[in-house]
């Protein structure tokens, strides 16, 4: 990148979709009134003690298996000690020396092909509360509903060499988390958070420069822009003969710059030590296999299978597998109607458009797989034309009625669409050249044969009189 090499590492925090918090039974539901989902444990009250939520471990193992990590057989929790109002105990329960998972990798698509980005570790920890600063008064307001919500921290190797790779890694990790059903992946709402480490070196130089840490990037675009800015900032410093300071930078999205977080605070000494209130976790093969058996097909595997089995191009597989639910929807359709490309087209265009317009996800969509396939089949039979189908689909999407219902209520229950019938008739005429010749040379009685064929092809739904007229017209062209 203009004479400089870059390395980027990402630290991602994923908020897990458990019912209750990691160390107490308070609900993890969001959107509740402040401090209404708290208890002595997550408020850090005197005498309260943590008890580990088994599901947190299940989810952690699930992620570890999905990315090919080694699952620890014994792991322990540790205390990370520091003072902040949203940290109720004055320490965070996390993992330090023996994390749940080590190693693993995620494949990302780059211009040069597939690149494996390594993962250093995945560990379990608890989230802190939320602090809101007052704009005018010298106060901050703390809500502990989020304190104690389970987090998985995923630390990558500093293996990404440009910002596109970083974003691709983040996208793929997010998709894996969502496929596994353990995180909802929302960066805007903070259930998926990303921090980055960046350092650069001049091409040809052997050692990388000082690393800086980047925080406050709450969307893919912001991750990309922040990284680009920070890399450029490093390069500028080095070009002017300076040295990059090791510091934490905050991305300011409105100004488009990174700003140093360095304050008068002394550098943190977290004084990690093993958490005495929690006993060690021993994970045996049976537990791991149990979790392994619940693993769904992962995004990359599913894309590959769609390509192979349904002969779909990469673009299609990408769109169709963007969520597990959408991919399931697609496969349900293909299971009912053997038209993989056509169904793909319909989903990529009409279905996606409807979902966007309604602002819903596929799980709330009124058009069920059997309804979509029913519609597409009707086109195939010549019952309706392509353009009419789009219209009917729009009505299906808003009312939830099936194609059959709509067509019957609209029309006469018969195909009266000239174009449709023309298409069917031409096809039949082309398929029966002998009969056509015979008709044209005077055997007009064969009209009945052709009309019969049209009726057969449209499963009796064609309007016979209209069909007859159209066939006659076509034969006598």
């Amino acid at each position: 990148m203009n004479g400089y090499d870059v390395v980027i590492g990402l630290e991602v925090h994923a908020q897990l979709l458990t019912e209750s918090k990691v160390f107490c039974g308070c609900s993890t539901r969001s959107g509740l009134a402040p401090n209404t989902s708290t208890c002595p444990v997550c408020m850090g009250m005197p005498g309260a003690l943590p008890v580990l939520n088994r599901k947190m471990v299940d989810y952690g193992i699930r992620l570890g298996l999905a990315v090919g990590s080694r699952i620890a057989r014994t792991c322990i929790f540790a205390r990370k000690n520091y003072f902040y109002p949203d940290l109720p105990k004055g320490y965070q329960i996390t993992q330090y020396e023996s994390p749940l998972c080590e190693g693993g990798s995620i494949d990302v698509e780059t211009k040069e092909g597939v690149k494996k980005i390594g993962i250093i570790r995945i560990h379990m920890e608890e989230d802190a509360g939320k602090t809101i600063h007052d704009e005018t008064a010298p106060y901050s307001y703390v809500d502990y509903n989020r304190a104690g919500v389970p987090l998985l921290e995923i630390v990558s190797e500093p293996g990404m060499t440009d910002t596109d790779q970083a974003v691709a890694y983040l996208r793929e990790l997010r998709q894996i988390l969502m496929y596994l059903g353990i995180c909802d992946g929302s960066m805007e709402e903070g259930s998926l958070r990303c921090d980055a480490n960046v350092s650069v070196k001049k091409e040809g130089s052997s050692r990388y420069g000082t690393r800086t840490e980047l925080k406050n990037m709450n969307s893919f675009r912001n991750v990309q822009k922040a990284l680009e800015f920070e890399i450029e900032r490093h390069i500028q410093i080095l070009e002017s003969g300076g040295r990059v300071e090791q510091e934490t930078m905050l991305w300011n999205p409105s100004k488009g710059v990174t700003v140093s977080m360095r304050s008068k605070e002394e550098s943190h000494d977290y004084r990690y030590f093993p958490e005495p209130d929690l006993v060690p976790l021993r994970i045996d093969d049976a537990w791991i296999e149990d979790v392994r058996s619940t693993l769904p097909e992962l995004p990359a595997e599913r894309r590959a299978r769609f390509r192979k089995r349904y002969g779909l191009p990469a673009y299609d597989t990408g769109v169709l597998t963007q969520s597990r639910e959408l991919a399931d929807y697609y496969e349900a359709c293909v299971g009912m109607l053997d038209a993989p490309k056509e169904i793909s087209n319909w989903i990529m265009t009409e279905v996606m458009r409807a979902l966007n317009e309604q602002g819903i996800s596929i799980t709330d969509f009124k058009v069920m797989p059997e309804m979509l396939t029913g519609l597409i089949a009707m086109i195939g039979r010549g019952r309706i034309s392509g353009s009419m189908a789009k219209e009917i689909f729009a009505e299906m999407a808003s009312t939830g009625r099936s194609a059959e219902e709509i067509v019957s209520s609209r029309g006469v229950g018969q195909i009266s669409d000239e174009e449709t019938l023309k298409t069917v008739a031409s096809r039949i005429i082309d398929a029966n050249p002998d009969e056509a010749r015979k008709y044209r040379s005077g055997k007009t009685g064969l009209l009945g044969f052709f009309v019969g064929q049209v009726m057969k092809a449209t499963q009796g739904e064609a309007n016979p009189k209209l069909a007859s007229r159209i066939v006659k017209e076509l034969l006598e062209e």
Binding site: M45, N81, R271, P276
Partner: protein
């Protein structure tokens, strides 16, 4: 306690009468053993206990008045840990042990005095003033459960709960001539016990007799799903008849009888051991070579854990708050500097230092390794004996004005009690005699994990034979 229970059932006395009598006595108490008297709550419980006793299924604790150390949370009743920083803290939840006592109909009279945050051996660091020893009010009752010990010795309650991290139940029990049990680590729930050192703390019973201590222990022991360190051990109810000491091997460690042990204490303890031998026990010499490092290990591990456990006292969510106008950092500094006493600050600093970057391996890790060696010593010893006996403390109750302002000399008072906490073993202190001034001497018995039956059984048998525990101040 059993006597009182019998009198209730024979209608010779009612819980309300007994409770009123004790509440009056407590109000007249000059020993400063109580911080809070819960008159209303106590009388309410006493009345419910009377209803309970009318039914057939009332347990032995129904209507029995007990006191609870003020570092154990009681719902709706101030729980201060004898600290300014929690002086007005009222928990909205009960500690599990308190809930158990209430469920069994016990009457909780109030909260007893302690060293601030249970850090101390004299009950002189309380922000509510020192508690005095009923045997001689110019002397300390020991600590940190000094309030509970004094209250029991002065017969202001039938029994009390204390907590023990390095000897805080046994040491004051010894100084006040009563019986105190530090149970096996994990056998009594810590939920609701304000944490000092998480891997060492245990709540335990303090009473006039080993039998009463056993009754209280049975009432509070058991697995608690709210405490991850709670043991899954299935205890049988303690046999209140006492055990037959014939064939029981009593190990006597030379390491607990070195120089530094007061001669009166030494002779009283040795005669206690002789008494056990008289009852049929076999005395065996054992060695515990690493216990001499116990105090050093303890003051690193306990203070390290404490420095972290006390970080939550920051003036944000509860407790005292000071220095707001100077911003957040100033609030932290002012609150904690004003709210904590000198000993607590000393231990927080020590613990912070022991965990800090560059020192973790030399201090915390090293101490934790030596802790393993101490536990190994006991494992080896218990292959040669069933109970280990020795003195509870090196001295008897000393005068409050004799106290040297040197923390280390106070720390060394716990030299015999600390090892049991480090190894998680159960340990009992029972009165075994008196010194030349007539002050009580305590003998400590230790057993393998979950063998409180041996300790209480031996204690009951010993007390059925001897009369030291019957002498009142």
């Amino acid at each position: 306690m059993l006597e009182t229970a019998r009198r209730y059932r024979k209608r010779k006395e009612s819980p309300v009468e007994e409770t009123r009598r004790l509440l009056d006595a407590i109000k007249r108490d000059t020993l400063n053993s109580f911080i809070t008297i819960d008159e209303q709550g106590a009388l309410l419980s006493a009345r419910s206990a009377e209803d309970l006793l009318d039914r057939e299924d009332a347990g032995v604790l129904a209507g029995i008045p007990v006191a609870v150390k003020d570092n154990i949370c009681t719902c709706g009743v101030r729980t201060t840990c004898a600290s300014e920083i929690l002086a007005d803290f009222v928990p909205a939840y009960d500690a599990t042990v308190v809930k158990k006592l209430k469920d069994q109909g016990a009457v909780i009279l109030g909260k007893t005095n302690l060293d601030e945050f249970a850090m101390g051996s004299t009950t002189t660091t309380s922000c509510f003033g020192p508690t005095r020893n009923p045997w001689d009010p110019s002397r300390t009752p020991g600590g940190s459960s000094g309030g509970s010990a004094a209250a029991v010795a002065a017969m202001l309650c039938a029994g009390a709960l204390g907590s023990d991290t390095g000897g805080s139940i046994r040491m004051p029990a010894s100084f006040c001539g009563i019986t105190g049990l530090k149970p096996t680590y994990g056998s009594v729930s810590r939920y609701g016990l304000v944490a000092f050192a998480s891997s060492l703390d245990q709540i335990g019973p303090m009473a006039a007799t080993a039998r009463d201590a056993a009754v209280l222990f049975d009432a509070i022991k058991g697995h608690d799903p709210l405490d991850s360190t709670s043991a899954l051990h299935d205890y049988a109810p303690t046999d209140l008849e006492g055990i037959d000491l014939r064939g029981v091997r009593i190990g006597v460690p030379k390491d607990f009888f070195g120089p530094g042990l007061n001669p009166d204490v030494k002779s009283a303890v040795l005669s206690g051991i002789a008494e056990l031998a008289d009852m049929g026990a076999q005395v065996v010499d054992i060695r515990l070579p690493h216990v001499r490092y116990g105090v050093a290990v303890y003051y690193i591990v306990a203070t390290a854990e404490a420095s972290s456990n006390l970080a939550r006292y920051d003036g944000v969510r509860y407790g005292m708050r000071s220095g707001e106008s100077g911003g957040l950092r100033n609030m932290y500094l002012q609150t904690r500097s004003k709210g904590f006493g000198a000993e607590v600050k000393r231990r927080i600093m020590l613990g912070t230092y022991a965990l800090s970057a560059g020192y973790y391996d030399a201090y915390y890790r090293k101490a934790s390794q030596v802790r393993t060696l101490i536990a190994d010593d006991f494992r080896a010893a218990f292959s040669l004996c069933d109970i280990i006996a020795g003195p509870t403390t090196p001295v008897t109750a000393f005068r409050l004005d004799e106290m040297v302002d040197d923390p280390l000399s106070i720390y060394l008072l716990d030299i015999y009690t600390i090892p049991a906490n480090l190894a998680g073993l159960p340990a009992l202190s029972i009165p075994c005699g008196f010194d030349s001034r007539g002050l009580p001497v305590g003998m400590q018995l230790m057993a393998p994990h979950f063998r409180e039956d041996l300790l209480l059984g031996a204690g009951i048998a010993f007390q059925d034979r001897t009369g030291h525990h019957k002498v009142r101040p």
